[in-house]
């Protein structure tokens, strides 16, 4: 890539684009008239929403309203007003805990299994049909089955995260292990390195970038899925928060949640990208 002559140009454009979008949003969401229909019974008007009183429907929130909500959530992220009303920070915490639990189990299982499949053509051929059938199943399709068999919604959510993160890691690990350069393995063989030490000192570092790519794909999917899973099962988590605010038709809160989900997802992805960079190598 060529270096930009004016390094401030790109950020400036980003900010301008944001300002433009917010402006369009503000204009589009502007309630047309909030004047109460003069013919309306004032007692009736008091019982309905402001927009309905004007003869219209309640509108999209403006950027200002969303900003206000966002500020309120960010300044008080950990409040706890009962089982069903907890702060955004706590909800994110629940979601992250579920994602990490399911994800770490998936890593712990998929990496060794991927090693096996990658190193043994027999295991590859035996397991490949299962992988091909199970891989494309939407993780949410597992939810009813998980609820029915596991009989615990928290564990079911973790299971769904596990099942969606396991495939990319498994497939990438197997691929990475299978495509380790023959030369490196030969070096290890001529140096009489034990199979176990070869696995840890040659194959693992050689396949690490590919494995990390799979892990990065998985964490992205897991974060996508947790929101949907929690909307389905409810209780706690950022997905439940979205569902609860949908229930209240609070579009402003939903937009806040969407922003937060995006930022957390980006943070997770950045972390994995960092890790991937740490284990990557140039030949």
């Amino acid at each position: 890539m060529t270096t930009l002559r004016k390094p401030w140009l790109a950020p400036l454009l980003s900010v301008l684009l944001l300002a433009f979008l917010l402006g369009v949003w503000q204009l589009a969401a502007q309630p047309e008239t909030t004047v109460v229909d003069p013919g309306l019974d004032p007692e009736y008007a008091a019982l309905i929403g402001a927009a309905a009183a004007g003869g219209g429907q309640s509108a999209m929130p403006t950027p200002g309203e969303v900003g206000g909500k966002l500020w309120a959530h960010l300044t008080d992220p950990f409040y706890d007003r009962g089982t069903n009303d907890k702060g955004l920070g706590i909800q994110i915490g629940y979601s992250l805990a579920r994602v990490l639990a399911g994800y770490l189990i998936a890593v712990a299982l998929a990496v060794p299994l991927g090693f096996l499949i990658g190193m043994s053509p027999l295991a590859y051929r035996a397991l490949d049909p299962y992988i091909q059938v199970l891989k494309p199943i939407s993780p949410l399709a597992w939810m009813p089955l998980a609820l029915y068999t596991i009989k615990d919604s928290g564990t079911s959510a973790v299971f769904v995260i596990f099942i969606c993160s396991v495939w990319p890691i498994l497939v990438n690990t197997a691929f990475g292990v299978a495509s380790v350069r023959r030369d490196w393995l030969n070096v290890a063989r001529t140096l009489e390195v034990s199979p176990l030490r070869t696995a840890f000192t040659v194959i693992l570092p050689a396949a690490a970038p590919t494995i990390l790519t799979g892990m990065r794909i998985s964490i992205g999917i897991a974060w996508l899925v947790i929101v949907a899973a929690e909307m389905l099962v409810g209780g706690t988590g950022i997905g439940y928060f979205v569902w609860n605010e949908w229930n209240n038709l609070s579009i402003a809160n939903i937009i806040v949640a969407i922003l937060v989900i995006g930022v957390v997802g980006m943070a997770l992805d950045t972390m994995l990208a960092r890790l991937a960079r740490a284990v990557s190598y140039r030949e």
Partner: protein, 281 residues
């Protein structure tokens, strides 16, 4: 019995009609430098892989130092054509990887000290902590040689180690290799495509006829005195006799070489032996 003795060696790959090579018989003495020369497809690399234990022969035996060779072992050091350095390890760590396997009882410091010494030997004292991608092709191959040398093998196997290098670098490393081999009395078996390289380095050159069904056609003795200097060696009139003989074989005779019956020992020739040794200038 010779240090390395090879008898009736043959290799047939699965699903191939004919063996790549067959009826291979030769010996290498301790401290000898032997090059193997031949066209692509004659099975040179396969021979080397069988010697290293990475590949298995279809027939025949390899006996080294009184014991049959089965599988790879630390008594043979291999320098790979593509250097085969682990790209995630520094030059030093790559060498240490071998050293630690050779002497597992050594402490970290011993391993490190020995590895540094070996790298200094190939002139890489300044690049210990560089990753392979930060090294030039020649430097990478030096690390590869250092890794093979560091385990102090009974025999060094080199698979066309300088093929990918430019002429200037190749010359420098050839010199270094010669010095180290001379200093350590190392037994070396090396594949090359380069006629001049083989004359410079080898005590004997094995000539392979074309595959499939390649055979060991001739063994050429290089009776040039050591130490050899690649700037002056071609002043020796025997040099061209040897060179012409080799080129003639590769260009004209290798294809049409008539296979003698099994068990027949290859002819040993010594081109230029009739020319008296020139007096040093």
């Amino acid at each position: 019995m010779a240090f390395l003795h090879i008898e009736a060696l043959a290799k047939r790959f699965p699903q191939a009609d004919a063996p790549v090579f067959e009826h291979l018989n030769f010996s290498i003495e301790r401290g000898e430098f032997v090059c193997i020369l031949g066209h692509s497809g004659c099975g040179k690399t396969t021979v080397l892989n069988i010697l290293s234990g990475l590949d298995e022969a279809s027939a025949g035996t390899v006996v080294m130092d009184g014991r049959e060779v089965r599988g790879p072992a630390l008594d043979r050091g291999v320098v790979f054509q593509s250097h085969a350095l682990m790209p995630w390890l520094s030059a030093l760590k790559n060498v240490e990887f071998g050293v630690r396997s050779r002497w597992p009882e050594w402490s970290r410091r011993e391993v490190e000290a020995h590895s540094i010494k070996t790298l200094e030997m190939v002139g890489l004292a300044h690049a210990l902590h560089k990753k392979p991608h930060e090294l030039s092709g020649g430097m990478k191959q030096r690390v590869g040689i250092a890794r093979a040398f560091a385990i102090q093998p009974k025999m060094l196997l080199l698979d066309e180690p300088f093929g990918a290098l430019d002429a200037l670098t190749r010359g420098t490393i050839q010199d270094e290799l010669m010095q180290i081999v001379a200093a350590t009395q190392q037994t070396v078996f090396m594949i090359t495509h380069d006629v001049d390289e083989s004359i410079l380095l080898a005590d004997r050159i094995l000539l392979m006829s074309n595959g499939p069904r390649a055979q060991l056609a001739e063994i050429v003795e290089v009776a040039l005195p050591r130490p050899r200097d690649r700037h002056t060696i071609h002043h020796d009139p025997r040099y061209y006799r040897i060179r012409n003989h080799l080129v003639d074989f590769l260009v004209n005779r290798s294809r049409a070489f008539a296979a003698p019956e099994a068990g027949h020992a290859p002819a040993v020739v010594n081109p230029g032996s009739d020319i008296p040794e020139p007096q040093a200038a």
